[in-house]
Symmetry: C2
Subunit: 217 residues, 2 copies
């Protein structure tokens, strides 16, 4: 007598249909845009629904709470964001590895500024939604790479430098161009949009940081 294959049990939706896949993506893309511009509190569900081209109740059919969209987006973004750090090769040439890392981060900052801003906004407000993620995923990864950098310093392949502060400096500098875009534009004006601006930025940042940590006689 028990209704056998009913999916509406408390276990949640096991199967995702074609329509679900499309609409979830539509919602997340729209939400990234809006959240990154207005922040969590500053964003209304209606705004997201409008941009995603559906009604508010329909959106809530896919994500029952506003918070759900936000958290999904943050975790999705952060995972992608961390990949380049994980890719630093402990056996590679230190300067080369860091050059690659910085270059990649600047590229990401240019190609996905919304993701950078979404994350910046969350951390700025105390990371209420992702402090667990930071502790569980970010810290271990940074600790691991810090060991590598410290070894490089010990081997004389880098000038003596604190690994953590070096990593913070790279993050700060590269993300600055996404997060503070308005300020950069206010100061550098039309240069920002011009082709080659990213290369110029990368060149300047790389020059200072890499020369700053190159081993000195």
């Amino acid at each position: 007598m028990a209704k056998a294959a009913k999916q509406k049990t408390s276990s949640g939706p096991e199967k995702t249909t074609r329509i679900q896949e499309i609409n979830r993506r539509l919602i997340l893309d729209a939400a990234l845009d809006v959240f990154s511009t207005y922040g969590f509190r500053g964003t209304t569900i209606d705004q997201i629904a409008d941009k995603a081209g559906m009604s508010k109740p329909n959106l809530l059919y896919y994500f029952p709470r506003k918070q759900n969209i936000y958290v999904t987006l943050l975790e999705e973004t952060l995972t992608e964001w961390l990949a380049p750090l994980a890719d630093i090769d402990p056996e590679g040439d230190p300067i080369e590895q860091l050059r690659k890392y910085i270059t990649l981060k600047i590229k990401m900052s240019e190609s996905h500024p919304e993701a950078s801003r979404l994350f910046a906004n969350e951390v700025l407000h105390g990371a209420p939604a992702i402090s667990d993620f930071l502790a569980k995923h970010l810290k271990p990864l940074v600790d691991e790479k810090a060991v590598v950098i410290r070894r490089w310093v010990g081997e004389g392949k880098l000038a003596p430098v604190d690994p953590y502060h070096l990593i913070f400096m790279i993050w700060a500098t590269t993300q600055h161009y996404a997060d503070f875009d308005v300020q950069v534009r206010a100061i550098m004006g039309s240069q920002v949009g011009r082709p080659g601006f990213r290369e110029q930025t990368a060149q300047a940042v790389l020059s200072i940081i890499l020369n700053g940590i190159r081993p000195r006689s």
Copy 2:
């Protein structure tokens, strides 16, 4: 028959009483705290009023609009924030001047993190309230200092470096410790609170940047 000395004319409150001075300060201090944590939209007037120890209508007696408090706070903060940059002495020793500037910025980041966050949040969201200020006050000042730095490079006192990117790097790095405090804590843990942490930070940042821009043979 015109009511002569009435102050309620459209010219605004010419005279500020003792009580006004105290209460405006109380409100602004409370508002900085709340705005920097929750952002403009995330902050309610009630929150500020509570923290300032007065009723909401009373608060609105001093600042008729929420926006007024916010803008006042931003402009007050920014002016103070820019002073150290203005203080860079074109006739001083380049490395020494920049060391002083960076050290001061790190100190400010530690002593007034809320101010840094308030500003970061505003710029992150497109600086809707202060884009004028950026164009009118920030840009000219930065342009002025860029000329100085460029001259220093020309005189061989600094390695060839783009002045704008150098300034951005200094801002990004120093403010990172205030704006991303939660992240820094998530990674470095209890070290952050310990005495001497600021000095350690300053040392690391100064070491990389100054060595990065020191003239090379």
